[in-house]
């Protein structure tokens, strides 16, 4: 009998359905994987089941009874706990306090009974075989140990359903194995585990059944035993168009602009970018794409990376130093480190190029308008004026301003991290055209993207990353979305052929 069951679960945001009539069932003592491409509705489903958001329609049954969660606390009390990819721990408190945060045992005076809290925590950790000291400070724990604290906290609610969202994204391979052992024990203890991961090899390793979502709809639920990696990817992606009709472009790649050796843990990756070439960097959450992209642009720790630009060894120690070598990075998170809010569009655009429009430290407004305004016009920025506050523009126009700033740095190598994130369809096409035109003009372009379709449309070569290493390189035309997905999700049949 199903422990957790949903019937006709639906959710719309602003009239747009993201989950449509989902019927789902997970049994006690089962590891049930949930897979789907970006936008399939996994997160929405998890958020509904764990009480963070309310469904538009449909019902949830837990142990046969209909339940309705107004908030995550109610779900926890009912026995449904979620461990998010991002931990929510208090680093300066100890393990026991973190486990019982907000519901500490009290003594007769109403004060926190620390001794009892330690005892309870120790008992809980022992029961599940977690080797953790309840008195240890969370800040001093490894990522894997912190995750165990999160899981212990989730289990302390007597969880019957434990949801793990991308639990291995930040773990090293041996730590992943230990996590799987923990999952096996919990499974034996009768906990239903919902396992969400892009790493399909893991799904085959630990899941009993797998539910496939696509565009908010359940495609199928199947035992993993009767499936293979390629078959699962096909179910996730549906009918793909085959190799994407690539933009007709003579990829006359020029001389090597950037050659880099990147080391992370045991793995070493070689990255070569040629003038006139667009190279894609594919991979899932936690694969280390952004880390690599930033390492190329002056964010590397010593010994992490060795680089040559135009045949000359360089070792930039800051973004400014990297820019002087012609290596320019475009952030994936405009709000965090891309935009200067609430300053104007032009001020945002010329931020890094002021020396080009100033004499003896005095800015020529006319020269600034010519340089910045000219570049923005070239990128077809739509704004009420060059003085409009940057945060009043659409995502696409904000991105164009950030692009314009990068181009004013006169890059040899442009490293774009998710260049079309949060951008409308029209602006997206314009940005794609721009990237193609820049490559045409002799720039070496590296595009990091979670959208495989985008990489297939743009890139001359695609590097696939997993566990902080490039595990495979594909050339234009020899790969389709399914193949990329299989490589990034760890299908041994595809990854065996190392780059």
């Amino acid at each position: 009998m199903a422990l957790l069951e949903t019937a006709g679960l639906s959710k719309s945001f602003g009239g747009v359905p993201v989950l449509a009539g989902l019927d789902f069932a997970a049994a006690a003592g089962e590891v049930h994987a949930l897979v789907g491409a970006n936008g399939a509705g996994k997160s929405t489903f998890l958020n509904i089941v764990s009480g963070s958001i309310a469904p538009t329609a449909g019902s949830i049954r837990l142990g046969g009874e209909v339940v309705r969660f107004a908030n995550p606390q109610q779900a926890q009390r009912a026995g449904v706990s979620i461990v998010h990819q991002e931990f929510a721990l208090a680093p300066l408190l100890d393990v026991a306090t973190n486990i019982f945060l907000g519901r500490e045992p009290r003594n007769r005076l109403g004060l926190v009974d620390r001794a009892r809290m330690r005892r309870d925590a120790a008992a809980l950790l022992a029961r599940h075989g977690f080797r953790l000291d309840p008195g240890a400070l969370v800040a001093g724990l490894s990522v894997a140990e912190q995750q165990l604290v999160e899981i212990a906290r989730a289990l302390s609610f007597e969880a019957r359903v434990l949801i793990l969202d991308e639990p291995t994204a930040a773990l090293s391979p041996p730590e992943q194995q230990r996590l799987f052992a923990v999952i096996d024990r919990l499974k034996a203890a009768g906990v239903a585990i919902l396992y969400v991961s892009h790493r399909l090899d893991e799904v085959f390793r630990i899941a009993d059944r797998v539910t496939i979502l696509r565009n908010g709809v359940r495609v199928d639920t199947r035992p993993t035993a009767g499936l293979d990696h390629a078959g699962l990817v096909r179910l996730m992606l549906g009918e793909t168009a085959g190799p994407t009709a690539s933009v007709a472009r003579c990829a006359a790649a020029g001389p090597v602009r950037l050659a880099a050796t990147y080391r992370a843990g045991e793995a070493t990756s070689e990255i070569v970018l040629r003038a006139g070439e667009i190279v894609g960097l594919a991979g899932f959450v936690g694969a280390g794409r952004t880390h690599l992209a930033r390492a190329l642009a002056g964010h590397a720790r010593p010994h992490e990376i060795e680089m040559m630009v135009d045949g000359v060894p360089v070792a930039p120690r800051s973004p400014a130093a990297a820019m002087r070598q012609g290596l320019v990075y475009l952030t994936e998170d405009r709000k965090r480190d891309g935009l200067f809010v609430p300053l104007g569009v032009l001020v945002n655009t010329t931020a890094g190029a002021l020396d080009r429009v100033a004499r003896l430290g005095v800015i020529s407004r006319a020269a600034e308008r010519r340089l910045g305004g000219g570049m923005l016009a070239r990128l077809r920025l739509a704004a009420p004026g060059l003085g409009a506050p940057i945060d009043h523009l659409s995502g696409g126009n904000q991105q164009k301003a950030v692009f314009a700033r990068a181009l004013l740095a006169e890059p040899k190598v442009l490293i774009c991290d998710e260049p079309t994130r949060g951008v409308d369809v029209g602006a997206k096409a314009q940005i794609h055209d721009l990237l193609l035109a820049l490559a045409e003009g002799g720039l070496a372009v590296l595009v990091v993207s979670s959208e495989f379709g985008e990489l297939l449309a743009l890139a001359d070569r695609i590097l696939v990353m997993r566990d902080r290493a490039v595990i495979r390189t594909f050339r234009r035309g020899e790969v389709d979305e399914e193949m990329l997905f299989r490589a990034a999700s760890g299908d041994p049949a595809v990854c065996a052929g190392r780059p």
């Binding site: 973004p319 820019m323 300053l343 001020v347 890094g352 005095v362 003085g387």
Partner: protein, 337 residues
């Protein structure tokens, strides 16, 4: 895709209004205007309560009186646009006054070297603040608090706790000449420093970078801005202008008690915050600060005229910081929604 509001290649005609909009935004124009309105309203109220506030000579006096704080506030405004703070400004003003008086020692021939020495020492202290903040990443609040305490201690040790040095004849007189019989030279010096500061803020790459770094330090670093250099320069200017503020204090009061400017950091911060430069950085400017300084001193004088004492001034100061910060916060939230 061609939309009517797309930016066309800039032509002089099309570019002009856009440029005005750009600089207006940078100065957060409406807030600056609001603070000048407050000053005007306050003067009208003061004039109604006492006819003294209608006399140009009295107003000239207020500007003269405000000069030490006002000059120092210009430098602190730079630091606060950057997202920093300089709590050592009071100690720096004191040091400037004490050093200048001691070096002058009653001899008119020593005036120039004494002024140079005070400026140099104060600038060096500011540079040290800047270097430590830029290199170690210590919070400016903690670091400049440490500098302030250290400086007060050093000043006490050096002077033995008593006033030292004698003002050279002619030093005070130069600053107290009234131009046109109204504005004392010292008041003019404040206005000149403020105008110079506003110019630096508006036209230089340094001024622009203050706003950029203050509004998003992470983006500034990623965009390759010379963050450290800008931070060090801003604190150096804050120190240097603090030293000039100390010299102005000496010219105004003629005595150099070893704690001459203790507590002035609060006046300076009150004026800057009142002028619309917030602790979060990235907004405000010198124009607002000048208005903030003048409001503060008109208010102090009003408190005196009404017959309340110095302690009531403290209450006014505290209230100013709290109320102004709250109002700007609300304005900002309203603006961003």
């Amino acid at each position: 895709m061609s939309r009517p509001d797309e930016i066309a290649a800039p032509t002089p005609a099309a570019a002009a209004p856009v440029g005005v909009a750009a600089s207006r935004r940078l100065r957060s124009f409406p807030e600056t205007l609001a603070i000048w309105l407050v000053l005007v309203v306050l003067l009208v109220v003061a004039g109604a309560l006492s006819e003294a506030f209608l006399r140009p000579v009295y107003l000239g006096n207020i500007i003269r009186q405000a000069a030490p704080i006002g000059i120092a506030a210009v430098g602190v405004t730079f630091v606060m646009i950057l997202g920093g703070v300089d709590l050592s400004i009071g100690a720096t003003i004191s040091l400037g006054a004490v050093l200048c008086a001691a070096a002058m020692n009653g001899d008119p021939a020593n005036i120039a070297p004494a002024v140079a020495l005070a400026c140099l020492a104060a600038g060096a202290i500011g540079a040290l603040n800047g270097i430590l903040i830029a290199v170690t990443g210590v919070s400016p609040f903690i670091l400049t608090l440490g500098t302030a305490i250290t400086l007060y201690g050093v000043t006490q040790l050096v002077t033995g706790g008593t006033a030292h040095g004698i003002i050279a004849p002619g030093f005070r007189e130069v600053f107290n000449v009234r131009i046109g019989g109204i504005l004392p030279t010292l008041g003019l010096a404040f206005l000149v420093v403020a105008a110079a500061g506003a110019t630096v803020q508006h036209v230089t790459t340094f001024g622009r970078r203050l706003y950029l770094i203050g509004s998003n330090p992470a983006a500034a670093r990623l965009a390759g801005l010379p963050v450290r250099r800008t931070v060090i320069l801003a604190y150096t200017l804050s120190g240097l202008l603090g030293g000039l503020g100390g010299i102005a204090l000496l010219a105004r009061s003629g005595v150099s008690g070893s704690l001459a400017a203790s507590g002035y950091e609060f006046d300076v911060l009150a004026a800057v915050v009142l002028g619309g430069t917030t602790f979060e950085g990235g907004r405000g400017g010198i124009g607002g600060t000048v208005a903030g300084v003048l409001i503060l001193f008109v208010a102090f004088n009003l408190v005196n005229v009404i017959g309340l004492n110095y302690h009531a001034q403290l209450v006014v100061k505290g209230a100013v910081i709290i109320v102004a910060s709250a109002i700007y916060r609300r304005l900002r939230d309203a603006g961003s929604s």
